[in-house]
């Protein structure tokens, strides 16, 4: 019934991270998909239980290198909820600006990879060139380009000087023009449109049924954004607009992310401008009650949830992480089957899969009848 089985990964040029897809083809058309991740599974949830609360923030930041501060923010936020403490306003604004800068870097990275999957190297190069402005700003504020360990319980670890802020604002001004240029490029390019419009369609019903999150949900017309609903950090004060597209195809997901970038630039600018002098960290008494807490943030890829249970000691008893890609990966079958092999990298990338997040666990999932096959995962070709 299937002409050919194609292994897609774990080592595959379209994927910077290991994932294993079995694509069952008939000609070029995909009949069925079999999916397995877990090559990145290290056992972080267990390790988190063996570290004290301060140390485990750094571990949480290393669940994923791309959305590192989303993870550590969410984790600290949950622990702060557990301790029932507030953080100073200055720290809140610094966290917000780091958070949004990270979203910018993640989305620019995504746009580059998206171009790369379509064989459009120039888009990759351009978007990585512009991304350096974001990384430079992050380096100015936190001291690191990618994994920024700036959060701590009760505030942030590093202050921002006036000079840094003006430099970051200057970078953002340049970046805004560049992102608008990229938006123009993507919206007008005929081949990008040909490759993305109408491919990998997800309608509203699918999104609701599979509980998809983040830009994937927003591209299908569902205004689901934790920044709006939960009003954590400083989003409520800054005034925030949800970006929604209605088509639900790869092109809509592209547009959502590009428009979100522009929104993020606005937010960071506003956040930095409204930083007022003050302390960056409240004094915290590490006296943990026997309790549990849950909190959410909107990571670049969607809703990220941390559940922390404490048993009174200085180590968490249980940390459960639900990452956005983990929720979104369910629709893989929906968006791949029926399209051609050439659409696989593009559609896969349009979900912005972050398998490092997902691979705290392993998943094997198949489509129609949910058949799961595990044999010869290791055979090369």
């Amino acid at each position: 019934m299937h002409d050919l089985m194609i292994p897609f990964g774990p080592a595959h040029p379209a994927l910077p991270e290991p994932v294993y897809l079995k694509l069952f083809l008939e000609g070029e058309e995909i009949q069925d998909v079999d999916f397995s991740v877990g090559y990145n599974h290290k056992g972080i949830e267990k390790s988190l239980e063996e570290m004290d609360y301060i140390k485990s923030i750094f571990m949480a930041g290393r669940v994923c290198g791309i959305c590192s501060s989303a993870h550590s923010t969410c984790y600290t936020q949950t622990v702060e909820k557990l301790l029932n403490i507030e953080i100073p306003n200055r720290a809140r604004l610094i966290r917000t600006s780091i958070f949004e800068l990270e979203r910018l870097h993640s989305h620019l990275l995504w746009l580059g990879m998206f171009g790369h999957e379509m064989g459009f190297d120039t888009l990759f190069m351009l978007s990585f060139r512009e991304r350096e402005y974001v990384l430079d700003s992050l380096e100015l504020i936190t001291g690191k380009r990618v994994v920024h360990d700036i959060n701590t319980i009760g505030g942030v670890r590093r202050d921002v000087s006036q000079e840094t802020m003006s430099k970051v604002l200057k970078n953002l001004d340049i970046l805004k023009d560049k992102v608008e240029h990229l938006q123009n490029l993507v919206e007008k390019d005929p081949i990008i449109k040909k490759r993305t419009v109408g491919i990998g369609k997800l309608d509203k019903k699918d999104v609701e049924r599979l509980c998809l999150v983040g830009p994937v949900a927003r591209a299908s017309g569902i205004p689901y954004d934790i920044r709006k609903t939960d009003r954590y950090l400083a989003y409520d004060d800054l005034g925030f607009k949800i970006v929604v597209e209605n088509d639900g195809d790869n092109f809509a997901r592209t547009l959502v992310r590009i428009k979100e970038m522009l929104e993020s630039i606005r937010l960071v600018k506003l956040a930095i401008k409204s930083i007022k002098p003050g302390i960056i960290k409240n004094k915290v008494v590490m006296n943990f009650p026997v309790d549990e807490a849950i909190s959410r943030v909107e990571a670049p890829r969607g809703e990220l949830i941390y559940y922390v249970k404490s048993n009174g000691s200085n180590k968490p008893a249980r940390v459960k992480i639900r990452t956005p890609t983990y929720a979104n990966i369910l629709c893989l079958n929906k968006i791949l089957v029926g399209h051609t092999l050439a659409d696989v990298p593009v559609s896969l990338e349009s979900l912005d899969p972050c398998l490092c997040c997902t691979d705290r666990l392993t998943v094997v999932r198949n489509g129609k009848e949910e058949i799961i096959k595990l044999e010869d995962l290791h055979g090369h070709h």
Partner: protein, 132 residues
Amino acid sequence: MKLPKELKNIGKFYKQGKNEAWFILPYENFKDVIKNIIDFGINRISSISGYDNGKEIEVIYHFVKDNFLLNLKVLVPKSLNKIDTLTDLLPATFLLEKELSEMLGIKIIGHPKPGKLFLSEDWYGKPPLRKG
């Protein structure tokens, strides 16, 4: 959003926070309760957490409606060590239940594809998050 009146008696209420409510559901008929909740309109499941507290395994279903989090805890006795699946009500729990089953060693009754799936193929021994 506040806790709707209709949902006040679904189980043993034990904690309330800002925009969230925590319940303990009876182990026997938790699925009926969840069915009611879904019919009521809270149909987005965000996560399933599990914790081994020594005597029993706490399974917590985190439902979301807008900004309201409804957390329903089910205590699974270790002697039984099994729980009904929700995949027929919510397809999105497919992976979450799989994770629960693998990490804590609970059997999921009625799961479309149970079985050893995560970790490396040569993983033996007790589930990683199981204590004792």
